[in-house]
């Protein structure tokens, strides 16, 4: 018998090439827009051109009269079917199609269903909507003024524009810490509204079979199972007659977690007409109406002793939630997991007070590549720490080192109640500093300054919290946040793994197979990973908040272990020894002390269908529902070096170095790809991405000419490194990694620009850090000096 080495099965820790890339590279992916069903109709949505207005009338006669138009769907029509409103993920309500008022520019008002998309778009222009404009509310500060126009007059008991108020932490203890402080450092900064901007926009082909009543919904969703349940609850459709199929998804980044009005309208249209209905958003629709991210006005204060020991942190937040409170977050959290704001530091006291406001802007508040507001929290604390270093006259790295939670303090309970599972923050920071040549660069910075050149070094030592559940603490709309996997081994030793989490480019087809390969010994190439069809995969809360590996990845390892246990019984029968005498290594059950007496997992699989011991159920398959005992806490240190043009404020990145620790690495190449993508997105957010509004509530940033995504030209070169601190509670020691780089990097970029100007007294420039803003900060510093 040949010996199969651990590496031969291409399991955990190997940079196996992505299985999915074969079809993507050949242009053979299948996206929802690629689907053409017989008799399919096309839907286009009419959107409000104004931000706030009463709807006086909607006349569809002319639109309806165009040849090829099959139906015009209005809010009125949806209301007749009790579908004019739907619940949001934060338990608020959102208009599917407006009936009473429009509340943001781009809000859905009506839709045309036609034989082809050109006819549908032509007909949109003929729908006559009479609006009675109302004053627009375009900032949360304005929204909370006593005389502000009331946006949500549809909600009973809602008398102002406040949408939530929430506090956490220990107010008194924090107050006391601040009283004892030598130094209090304050930072008010705005994390602007940005957008996940997946290259594939949202869309659906809704196919409700008029005979069977079964709704087959081909749609762009990061959480197909949860969406199925929501559809069942909202639309009253029986859940066994709803099948969500996702096909390939061209990026999600949080944008494809929610249910959008277009999905509901297309489904309703298919149901009423009895033909499949396709709706595909265009770019502008995606940018102006679907889940945005951030939009947090933040004020943070850090209390310290003169020698740099952190005593407490106090945070005040004001969020701009748009017209409907539609943030994606666990039920008990109103600002997501923002209370991770103590970051990588041993801060004894913390207190957050937060409020959110309705404004005449698109709803959303999705966690754009972010575990529910961790991005905003990490940004705030990392910016604060650097500013504190300036005020104390300390090196920012040394201030961090002094306050890091030490390895021996884990599991560490934070002042806001998180139990950090593991971390070695100093190791990651030291690696980053050494690779960068930090000490040398500080000298170069000094020398450059003497010549009038502005060099800045910024860093961020972030800690994330990802992988929700545990289910006792976290749910979305009551659906508990656990996850699952089903594993079936065929007689010839090939396997199929079914998971409910939904890849949008993360590489699940490869990494999940690698987990099976390591646990069960079936090579990665022999494991088919199936997902994206709710009829054929187990229940799942979906892929976002870096939760797939921490939850479904754990379930995959656990179900494989169940099969090893069953396999052992079969192997004992085949080898005619007792189970206790067997051990399992790589892909073999062998007799302890007699390694030649062995059977492979493939032998065992064949026997499971051909030669089972008496009393044992046939087959080799099982499932596992995994409820994580805790979240996982990835971390890292990012360092950025920039040069700022003293005349123009333009800045360019000279170095960008990232050290990540996501626990056990399943596929280093895929992890590196995740980091690269996130660092590029973080750069975009820091430097150029912005959705803003004029005083009338008109959206600026409604296409890719105005909403700037960085190209390969602007994106810096990345130097990436890893440390590996396994999660002690995860079956394979893995943590999530999909979002570390978007969470950690914006602060590093901005800190670098601030660092270049810090000697002139500049302490804040709000993102995106445009050259104009840098120039204005330099002018301001020059005036005040």
């Amino acid at each position: 018998m040949t010996t199969v080495e651990e590496t031969d099965v291409h399991g955990i820790g190997q940079s196996v090439k992505r299985k999915e890339d074969d079809r993507f590279i050949r242009g053979k992916g299948t996206y929802v827009e690629d689907l053409v069903l017989p008799n399919m109709l096309h839907m286009a949505i009419l959107r409000s051109p104004i931000a706030h207005a009463k709807i006086v009338s909607v006349n569809v006669d002319e639109a309806q009269a165009i040849p090829g138009v099959v139906a015009v769907v209005t809010g009125e029509l949806l209301a007749q079917h009790n579908l004019a409103w739907m619940p949001t993920m934060s338990g608020d309500t959102q208009a599917v199609f407006a009936t009473d008022k429009v509340r943001f520019q781009g809000q859905e008002v009506a839709a045309v269903v036609a034989e082809d998309p050109y006819i549908a778009h032509d007909a949109l222009g003929l729908i006559d909507v009479e609006y009675e404009p109302l004053p627009a509310v375009t900032s949360p500060q304005q929204a909370l003024q006593p005389d502000a126009p009331l946006i949500r007059d549809d909600k009973e008991g809602q008398t102002d524009n406040r949408c939530f108020q929430w506090e956490t932490g220990d107010k008194d203890a924090t107050e006391k810490a601040f009283q004892q402080a030598d130094k209090i450092v304050e930072l008010s900064t705005f994390y602007p509204r940005c957008h996940p901007s997946p290259l594939e926009t949202c869309g659906i082909v809704a196919d409700v079979n008029p005979i069977s009543g079964k709704a087959t919904l081909h749609m762009t969703s990061q959480a197909p199972h949860a969406i199925r349940t929501v559809f069942a609850l909202v639309a009253g459709l029986p859940e066994h007659k709803i099948q969500i199929i996702t096909h390939d998804i061209g990026g999600g980044f949080g944008n494809k977690v929610p249910v959008y009005p277009g999905y509901v309208a297309a489904t309703a249209a298919s149901l009423l007409i009895g033909r499949p209905v396709k709706w595909i958003e265009d770019r502008t629709e995606n940018l102006i109406s679907t889940g945005f991210a951030r939009d947090y006005h933040m004020r943070g204060e850090l209390a310290l002793t003169n020698d740099g020991k952190m005593l407490g942190i106090r945070v005040e937040l004001l969020s701009d939630n748009g017209a409907f409170f539609a943030d994606a977050q666990p039920t008990k959290c109103k600002v997501g997991l923002f209370h991770i704001v103590t970051g990588s530091y041993d801060v004894p006291a913390a207190y957050l007070s937060t409020q959110g406001a309705y404004t005449n802007k698109a709803p959303g508040g999705v966690a754009y590549r972010c575990s529910f507001r961790v991005t905003e929290a990490s940004y705030l604390v990392e910016r604060l720490v650097q500013n504190a270093a300036y005020e104390l006259g300390m090196d920012p790295a040394e201030l961090r080192r002094k306050n890091f939670i030490k390895p021996e303090q884990f599991p560490y309970k934070s002042a806001t109640g998180f139990v950090y599972d593991s971390g070695e923050y100093e190791r990651a920071m030291d690696l980053a500093m050494n690779e960068l040549g930090y000490a040398e660069l500080r000298k170069e910075q000094e020398a450059a300054r003497a010549e009038g050149r502005l060099i800045g070094i910024g860093m961020a030592s972030f800690t994330e919290v990802v992988g929700a559940g545990p289910s006792k603490d976290y749910d979305i709309l009551g659906l508990k946040m656990f996850d699952s996997a089903e594993l079936r081994v065929h007689p010839t030793g090939k396997a199929i793994l079914k998971i409910g989490v939904q890849t949008q480019g993360q590489g699940h087809e490869t990494t999940f197979a690698q987990i099976v390969a390591t646990e069960l010994g079936i090579p990665t190439e022999d494991v088919l990973v199936q997902y994206g069809d709710t009829d054929n995969t187990p229940y799942s809360l979906g892929t976002y908040a870096s939760r797939s590996t921490p939850t479904a990845g754990a379930a995959t390892a656990m179900v494989a272990r169940k099969l090893v246990e069953k396999g052992k019984k079969i192997a004992a029968h085949l080898l005619e020894v007792s189970e206790e005498d067997l051990e399992f290594k790589v892909d073999k059950f062998s007799v302890k002390g007699a390694p030649d007496k062995a059977v492979t997992i493939q032998d065992v699989a064949f026997a499971a269908y051909t030669n089972m011991p008496e009393g044992l159920e046939h087959g080799l398959e099982d499932n596992h529902y995994y409820d994580p005992p805790n979240m996982t806490f990835p971390f890292g240190t990012y360092m950025v070096v920039v040069e700022v043009d003293a005349d123009t404020g333009q800045w360019k990145v000279l170095r960008m170095l990232a050290v990540d620790d996501c626990g056990k690495v399943i596929n280093p190449m895929i992890v590196q790809g995740q980091i690269h993508g996130g660092l590029a997105e973080g750069y975009g957010i820091a430097a150029m991405e912005l959705i803003t509004f004029d005083d009338d509530g008109n959206c600026i940033g409604s296409n890719f000419m105005d909403y700037l995504l960085p190209t390969s030209w602007e994106t810096p070169r990345f130097e990436t490194h890893m440390t590996e601190t396994p999660s002690p509670h995860h079956p394979i020691g893995a943590k999530g990694v999909g979002e570390s780089a978007t969470v950690g990097s914006p602060a590093a970029y901005v800190n670098a620009v601030i660092d270049a100007l810090a000697h002139t007294g500049v302490r804040n420039i709000d993102m995106p850090v445009t050259s104009a803003k840098v120039w204005e900060a330099m002018q301001g510093a020059a005036r005040s000096s």
């Binding site: 286009a44 998309p117 050109y118 549908a120 778009h121 032509d122 222009g125 502008t284 005349d647 123009t648 404020g649 333009q650 150029m688 912005l690 803003t692 600026i700 296409n703 000419m705 105005d706 700037l708 995504l709 960085p710 190209t711 030209w713 602007e714 445009t770 050259s771 104009a772 120039w775 204005e776």
Partner: protein
Amino acid sequence: MFPSRFDYVAPDTVEEVLATLAQHGDEAKILAGGQSLIPLMKLRFASPGLLVDVNRVPGLGFVEETGEHLRVGTLTRNTELERSALLKSGYPVMADAAPMISDPLVRNRGTIGGSLAHADPAGDWGSVMLALGAEVVIKSSTDERTIPVSELLVNTFTTSLDPTEMITEIRVPKTPARSGGSYLKMERRVGDFATVATAVHLTLDNGTIKRAGIGLTAVGSKNLQASAAEDALAGAEPTAEAFEEAARLAAEASSPSSDVRGSAEYKKAMVRTFVRRGLDKALELARG
């Protein structure tokens, strides 16, 4: 892309193009590179009834020096201009500008004549041509005329072209020896329109400035010619003081508006910085 309905013709000769324009007037729109027109149609901001595709007309793309002029065919793609050795050796302000236009995809299709006819104040070629004192040759089915670019550009997206007319070529005065030029552009990202850009062309004579041309991009209702700055430089010694004064005058001539790219104050300051830097660079080239 779901534009409004339109008709489409693709003539084979300039005469046919002009006859079609004469017949359809402002219902018709010339499709050259399509890099501005198609996005406008996609958004239904523009809904021409007839597209006259000139891409099949031979002989409209060329770059050559004849007599007193550099002649550039209207349909010459930006990529061809970017690669032109002639521009690199003799017309540095054009050679600078060509690769800064949008991104490679746009440059592969976009044409110089289309850019001028579109008259976007954030367009690059208008400023370059103003700095060079260039002219355009314009034809209709009944007439041909040649006017300076300064008379072509009227206002935002507005030219002195009649709907029945078409630009057929651009004529740039040949640059004498001891000339230099530069195009400096600030953009937030590749493919973005300019926040500010400045085109400078300088000719020296015995060490003094014989002629200076300065064009400004994205800081007014059209590409602007900084005439006061040009006049101040003509006949002057190319000193740092003279350049600083010219830069100040150019900034004064600009009338940018505040937007997400920056405040008006910032843009004026950048005109000043870029004109000064651009003059330095042009002088270096002029001195050889």
